[in-house]
Subunit: 458 residues, 2 copies
Amino acid sequence: MAKKPSIPKGTRDFTPSEVIKRNYIFEVVKKHFQTFGFQPIETPSFENSETLMGKYGDEGDRLIFKILNSGDYLNKVDDAIYTSRNSSLLTPKISEKALRYDLTVPFARYVVMHQNEIDFPFKRYQIQPVWRADRPQKGRFREFYQCDADVVGSDSLLQEIELVQLYDAVFTELKLGGVNIKLNNRKILSGIAEVIGAQDLLIDFTVALDKLDKIGEEGVKKEMAERGLTPEAIAKVEPLFSLSGSNTEQLQALKELLKDSETGSKGVEELTFIVSAVEEMGLQSAQLSIDVTLARGLNYYTGAIFEVAAPEGVKMGSIGGGGRYDDLTGIFGLKDVSGVGISFGLDRIYLVLEELGLFPESIDRSLQVLCLNFGEKESFAALKLVTALRREGVKADVYPSKAKIQKQFKYANNRNVPYVVLIGEKELEENSFVVKHMESGEQQTYALDAVGNFIAGL
Amino acid sequence: MAKKPSIPKGTRDFTPSEVIKRNYIFEVVKKHFQTFGFQPIETPSFENSETLMGKYGDEGDRLIFKILNSGDYLNKVDDAIYTSRNSSLLTPKISEKALRYDLTVPFARYVVMHQNEIDFPFKRYQIQPVWRADRPQKGRFREFYQCDADVVGSDSLLQEIELVQLYDAVFTELKLGGVNIKLNNRKILSGIAEVIGAQDLLIDFTVALDKLDKIGEEGVKKEMAERGLTPEAIAKVEPLFSLSGSNTEQLQALKELLKDSETGSKGVEELTFIVSAVEEMGLQSAQLSIDVTLARGLNYYTGAIFEVAAPEGVKMGSIGGGGRYDDLTGIFGLKDVSGVGISFGLDRIYLVLEELGLFPESIDRSLQVLCLNFGEKESFAALKLVTALRREGVKADVYPSKAKIQKQFKYANNRNVPYVVLIGEKELEENSFVVKHMESGEQQTYALDAVGNFIAGL
């Protein structure tokens, strides 16, 4: 009868060790979100379908998980639609809610609904799961956490500087030195398209340029040609491939290249401001590099574009990204609210920390003291001891039954417990307990009414 | 075009202040879960429908949110079912996943799937949202958090003792003194039904008895009669209504009442063991009382039954509950795994703490220092100062634009910032900054290169 249970593809159970390590990352990120003045909000897991549909393109609409209406949901479907037997037509009639696809659209909806109680500029962070009906593959899940910080209601470039510092603060505390914070600006990409005479091919141009890492200079040129850029335009792009040197040198070259484009020059000016401020204040462990090939989410971003790459030598896509968007809340009727934000890629950061052995030692040690169980009277004394330990914040437990001592020690080993306490008949008589340090094997005896001595030495 | 956005009924947005207060409760609960040796797990938000359906009764099945299959989901529906146009028949054909309805069934599924890697007894905690398509009403939501701690794989009564202590530890730290931990045992209810000759009416008998608080003694007797209990049986129940005195006195009376029932006597024995152990070790701020009318989830529990009532004078249903169940994982094919667990009612605990003013003062203060913005050069110096503060863990920010000073002070007030920093032209020249303490109005000047002096005084 009972079939072996399973979980839906693309979803995960998290074991204690995994939850603890994930929470470690969340806590570090949250701490720095807070010192940077961001405030937490949470939004419902599902939204009205109309809030989400049409916000992520056709592909996004398909990947949104829809929730079936409750009760006799077919009752309200009209005959013509039902008999057409067309899934796309039927869906909006039998489903009015959908699972959150990202945190940005619900955030925009939140800002519009709560605009009268929010003090702008509003710096919010949000760490919640999202769901996508994507085909699951290595590292891609149907349920995963997003971890976003955004500022809305301010177009000051101070925010961009802060966000670079925020990445640096988080990765420094995670001991993940040497991440590369790549920075670009939509205005620079527009400017380049302008000066090479390919304004109308901006998207094609940037999609091709974005692949420089993967397909190399010749590949990019070939793709640009295929996408309709003229040989003259491609020739003018040439200097971008050989951009090199320090950020200042690259900015100098870009300034020259874009001198005839107002938009492009504005982009260079913005980048220069951000880079020089960040350099003057200094980063703790990250590096900041200009990368004019960076184009992620181009349709969306209007100013700065960020992406964070793992330290050299670690094979991993980006572990964070973001940018500035000028009209976050327009879709819900609130105009002229500029925003800028970044996100942290939890799952990938987890994999990088695991690969590099950067999780703190014994982070998943869930029990410091285990008292063995030698019978009812003895275990009762043990529980008293454990009660005292717990009230001092020590993670402690009593083995619940009088199992074979070997079995109890095995349990202690499996749970990686550093101290095992023994209270047998003899100890009970002498009003004492024996502590065995599992690593060294050493044993020490304490008086039951002097638990403080033991705690002090933990 | 842009319709005013809204959220689905029964769901909530949480503002920064609410998230911070909710997290405060979670953190206290988690801390004590951990000192008591519980380990965290997390399970997916949605499960395969077959994992959930049929586990919560017909009513539960109706209240489970189903997720529509992706793509052309009608494609796989056979004609006969489609033309029947019956929602209940169609649902399993177009939906294979459903949102978690509670944490217990997913936990049972987890234990079965991970049985080979778990070290039993397994003490797990889980704090995650669940979803129910219930009619929303005051205090009842369609999305809410559950917060559970369970031990599986041990039938030791030490667990029951610990769980009482765990409630006490959490509510003591939340400064919610005087909660009443009510304790009963399924075996006592069975024993009573047995001695009054109403074994086959156990459920009817307990459902009626459970209402004693609400409808009084006469009401209960009337309902028992309506539910088919004989006048003789009802007369024999009489002593239960007048059970009073200390736990020990009540246990004595129950022992006498149930002396002819083996099951009932076992229940009294178990309760006596738990109560005397708890009393010997002492609770910090909660009280423990035997309550033979307590019957929550009777179909489910097989031993101890717990329920926590808010302190006297606070009108609120139970703020926690739980019990022992002998066959948690049998539904998934793993037999003989006994479990016992408790849960904390987050939303109600939140309301009680709010009503009694028990949240720590300034808990939702999200910013300690705000630097005003007097222009580009000044704000740059301010950002340097803020960077230094943040690296010391101080929540600090710079107002992002050179708005009117009045507006900036208003922002500081709205965010309840205790210290406002001013760096104007004069301060910049003198390499200093002025700190205004917002409550007292006092101002103090510091050197920009001696930020440590300011931090030390925070």
